[in-house]
Amino acid sequence: MNAKRTAVIAICLTVIAAFPVLASGAQEGAGGSDTIHIALTAPITGDYAEYGVNFRRSVEMAMDEINKDGGVLGKQFTLSVGDSKGDPKESANLAQKWTSDATIVAEIGDFTSTCCLAAQPIYDRAGMVQLSPTASHTKFAPGSEWSFSIVGTQAYEQPFMADFAHDDLGFKNIAILYINNDWGVDTQKFFKESFEKLGGDVVAEESFFQGEKDFKAALTKLKQSHPDALYMAAMYNDGALISKQREALGWDIPVLGPSSLYSSQLIELGGSAVNGLYTNVSFFAKDPDPRIQAYVTGFEERYGATPNFHAALAYDAMYILADAIKKAGSTDRKAIRDALAQEKNFKGLTGEITFTENGDAIKSYKAVEVKKGDFELYN
């Protein structure tokens, strides 16, 4: 009887202990001299899993393509993937793991600015490139010479959106609903600043936390301020929920938001509630550019899903890193950083990438609108 109990306790504890390990799915790549070992940190599980999974898909796809073309410096790339679960602590742990592995030459990731910022000091101390496809917080890239971001910061994107909302769409009073994390606060701040500079008025602001599913209370409150439009600083899954609940409350109002809303999932989840929504893109899946079409069809064939902006950014991250390693002519961590910092007019899927002195990328933006269940360029 006692042995049985002990066995059951053991099983329970094993289940608990094993899960984070199983979920992280880290594969140790071989660190031989004929390979270049890269690490990817992404939220493969947890609230941001859909973004993390797309990171892994795109990076693996780009890596396979580069390897098929003979790799770089005559070497093949190998990848280790670590699951940060969208948790800054996990992201920092993974940074410790990657930087203490001498075979790893550079890291791609993480997804959220919060996670990237948590891991930043570790990469900085160890001297390893931390190349985030998506961290758009204005403090991230300038925070360390080893930190780079491809997405372009909110300091560039939000003035574009404010200008679009004020001048093109003619909104004067706007209510903002934003996610309460580093990214959301930054987005809200830069949008508000730029919009008010143009003479517009932000009449109400409410925030929500990651994982929240009930937006009705916040929407009811925002509605009272009678704005011309609602600005959602949210990811597309939250954005779709917000739109649905807005519709259920019978609040008919134009909605707009940052490029994080650009995803086919927004339309799938939001249905009719997201019709007429405005956002912007640097990457547009329906762009006739043959390179973009090759990527989109390749991604669809391989994974059965249409890549979104975040996925394309991760794809660009892998290619620009490979390019920097080629230019560095070495897999030395410092040489890679220096070559990456020199990247100019790199032709990515998400537009040309030139790093500023701080390690931020400057991008160009196009306004889009949801029409009859599809994104279309606004004109």
């Binding site: 049985k4 109990r5 059951v8 306790i9 329970c12 504890l13 289940v15 608990i16 899960f19 984070p20 199983l22 979920a23 493969i44 599980t45 947890g46 609230d47 899993a49 859909e50 993390g52 999974v53 309460n180 009449v203 109400a204 409410e206 925030s207 929500f208 936390f209 994982g211 929240e212 599913k213 009930d214 009705k216 209370a217 916040a218 009811t220 409150k221 009272q224 301020s225 009678h226 899954n237 779709a240 929920l241 649905k244 609940q245 519709e247 259920a248 409350l249 019978g250 999932q265 799938e268 989840l269 939001g270 249905g271």
Partner: protein, 295 residues
């Protein structure tokens, strides 16, 4: 610019009561098991999530019928509750409760990661039911779904009340929760009562999962975490040893949260809820209606 007054207050009250229905039912799930075993089943949030996925599977692959989905989720929740009892409690009988508690946390992770592995991590859309406005009360919008949810919650509460006070198994549950040793000596099959209570609590959680998923139009593997904690909070708030207390706690929590958003800020929403949890655990661990803890 900002209009105050009855309309907005009423709308937030309606939002709060609807959300409160979800919390109240979840709180009952928690207090059912707690009443019998002084054990918190931390996997209930994930049973709720599995209930929601059951509904999603039925809507997507079979038939868009809310009643069918709710019934199916009750079956799935019942089975999961039963399973959790067999592993986390029955097999660990006699060892300190902490082992069972930790085991339910293990189950919570196990179910969450299983759902992510089976269904994928993407948020999935639930079809909308009865989302049209039923009536507007002084400018506040009430949808059919909200009415249905409140009605279903009330119905569930009545059924449970009947179950507890009019059936033999209900009598067993009450007897075991008073003193399981004496109840056992009186010829009550304690094992069976505990098994039924776990299953019932799982069934309720899964049922709520479908309602919530339809109300919010979305399912994903991590959706159960916060509602699980809020359900537990509501149970502690109202009095975890008492079913009417759990109901009261659920509705009060829903209303306080929504009015808190209105009068303070939505950024403080979870702060309010979990602040209540801490205050009650510290000052009044038996909750509003809870009985004094027995020795």
């Amino acid at each position: 610019m900002v209009e105050r007054g009855p309309t907005v207050f009423l709308q937030q009250l309606i939002n709060g009561i609807t959300q409160g229905s979800l919390f109240a039912l979840l709180a009952i799930s928690f207090s059912l098991v707690w009443g019998l075993l002084k054990l918190v089943n931390f996997a209930l949030g994930e049973v709720y999530m599995f209930g929601a996925f059951t509904g999603w599977l039925i809507f997507t692959y079979w038939v868009e019928n809310l009643a069918v989905a709710l019934l199916a989720s009750i079956v799935v929740g019942w089975v999961l509750g039963w399973l959790i009892e067999k592993v986390a409690f029955k097999a660990l009988r006699g060892v300190p409760h902490i082992a069972s508690l930790v085991c339910t946390i293990g189950f919570s992770f196990f179910l969450k990661e299983s759902a992510a592995a089976i269904f994928g991590v993407e948020t999935k859309a639930m079809p909308a039911f009865l989302s049209e406005s039923a009536f507007t009360l002084a400018g506040a919008n009430v949808s059919w779904l909200q009415i249905l949810m409140i009605a279903l919650a009330a119905l569930m509460l009545l059924i449970l009340q009947f179950l507890f006070y009019r059936t033999r198994i209900g009598l067993g549950v009450r007897a075991v929760s008073l003193d399981y040793r004496t109840a056992g000596l009186m010829g009550i099959n304690v094992d069976r009562v505990i098994s039924v209570a776990f299953s019932l609590s799982g069934a309720i959680a899964a049922f709520v999962g479908v309602l919530a998923a339809v109300y919010y139009n979305a399912v994903n593997p991590t959706m159960g975490f916060i509602p699980g904690l809020k359900g537990f909070t509501a149970a502690v708030f109202g009095g975890i040893t008492s079913i009417p207390g759990a109901i009261l706690g659920g509705y009060l929590l829903g209303i306080i949260e929504n009015l808190g958003v209105q009068f303070i800020s939505s950024g403080y929403r979870d702060l309010i809820s979990f602040g209540i949890l801490i205050v009650f655990l510290l000052l009044r661990p038996n909750g509003i209606l809870g009985k004094k803890a027995k020795l």
